[in-house]
């Protein structure tokens, strides 16, 4: 990822969420963000940006993946496990 990309990640993510919520006509649309993969977790700026966005948004939540596959596209088992985590995270956001 470029330096600009990392530096702008937080604002770009916030804007994307805002646009999607506007498009869905739901300002409180729940948003589940899957943590950047283990392979890229040296990108501290991106990881922190994901956490910051979730911390500032009561309708967003972060799914952690740092204990799963270290392959850059994960492995098939990890995808099944992540699917459940996304579901559980969404449940935690819904009233």
């Amino acid at each position: 990822m470029s330096e600009d990309g990392a530096a702008n990640y937080k604002q770009n993510l916030k804007d994307l969420i805002q646009y999607v919520r506007t498009q869905a006509s739901n300002p409180n649309l729940p948003v589940v963000i899957v943590e950047i993969g283990y392979w890229a977790q040296t990108l501290n700026q991106v990881m922190q940006a994901q956490q910051d966005v979730v911390n500032a948004d009561s309708h967003a939540i972060l799914v952690t993946t740092d204990d799963l596959s270290r392959y850059y596209h994960y492995d098939p088992a990890a995808h099944l496990i992540m699917g459940e985590r996304i579901g559980l995270a969404l449940d935690a956001l819904l009233p």
């Binding site: 600009d4 990309g5 994307l16 204990d67 496990i81 699917g83 459940e84």
Partner: protein
């Protein structure tokens, strides 16, 4: 419930499906004796790293991760999320991928998969509402270019990201074709 957007990295695990990983995994999950199940699954996961993508994935192999993932798969089976039904698309799940119309998962995109597979089954089990999944994904894409939103694009005198545009278009399609 429409739409649920899955924003995330691209996943192309059709090859993983086709090379027999899933069939072997499922064979073990539902036939291996309980006292050998953990070790069988760990073997299958390690074997995937040994052979996937002409051994390229091997750099990321980890016995620790394989053990954790194997135990998680067993838990998901015991919880009822991983069943033999996961091998076949559910007949009440609709999807839209690489085209603009929603269609039955079994008719369109129930082959290659990412996290949306288990997520869809999770919703099927835990939600009484009809569900639509819209997947927009591309490998190696970034918020800075591919997903660049209109505000940032205008500020930086750049084009709006094609993945962003696709997501919004598909959300609109979903709204138009929403099944009630």
């Amino acid at each position: 419930m429409c739409p649920i957007g899955l924003y995330g990295r691209a996943v192309q695990h059709g090859r993983a499906h086709r090379n027999g990983f899933f069939n072997n995994l499922y064979s073990d999950l539902f036939t291996a004796p309980n006292d050998t199940l953990q070790s069988r699954l760990e073997f299958r996961i390690n074997d995937w790293y040994e052979n996937y993508d002409e051994r390229y994935a091997n750099y990321a192999a980890s016995a620790e991760v394989a053990a954790l993932e194997a135990s998680e798969l067993i838990r998901l089976k015991e919880n009822g999320l991983i069943t033999e039904q996961l091998l076949s698309p559910l007949n009440d799940v609709w999807c839209s991928i690489n085209n603009t119309d929603l269609s039955l998962l079994s008719d369109n995109c129930g082959y290659e998969f990412g996290p949306e597979l288990a997520f869809g089954h999770y919703l099927s089990i835990n939600s009484a509402q009809p569900t639509s999944l819209i997947k927009v994904a591309k490998g190696g894409s970034t918020l800075h270019t591919d997903w660049l939103n209109p505000t940032a694009a205008a500020k930086q005198a750049k084009a709006v990201g094609p993945q962003y545009t696709q997501l919004i278009e598909r959300m609109n399609t979903c709204k138009r074709t929403q099944r009630r």
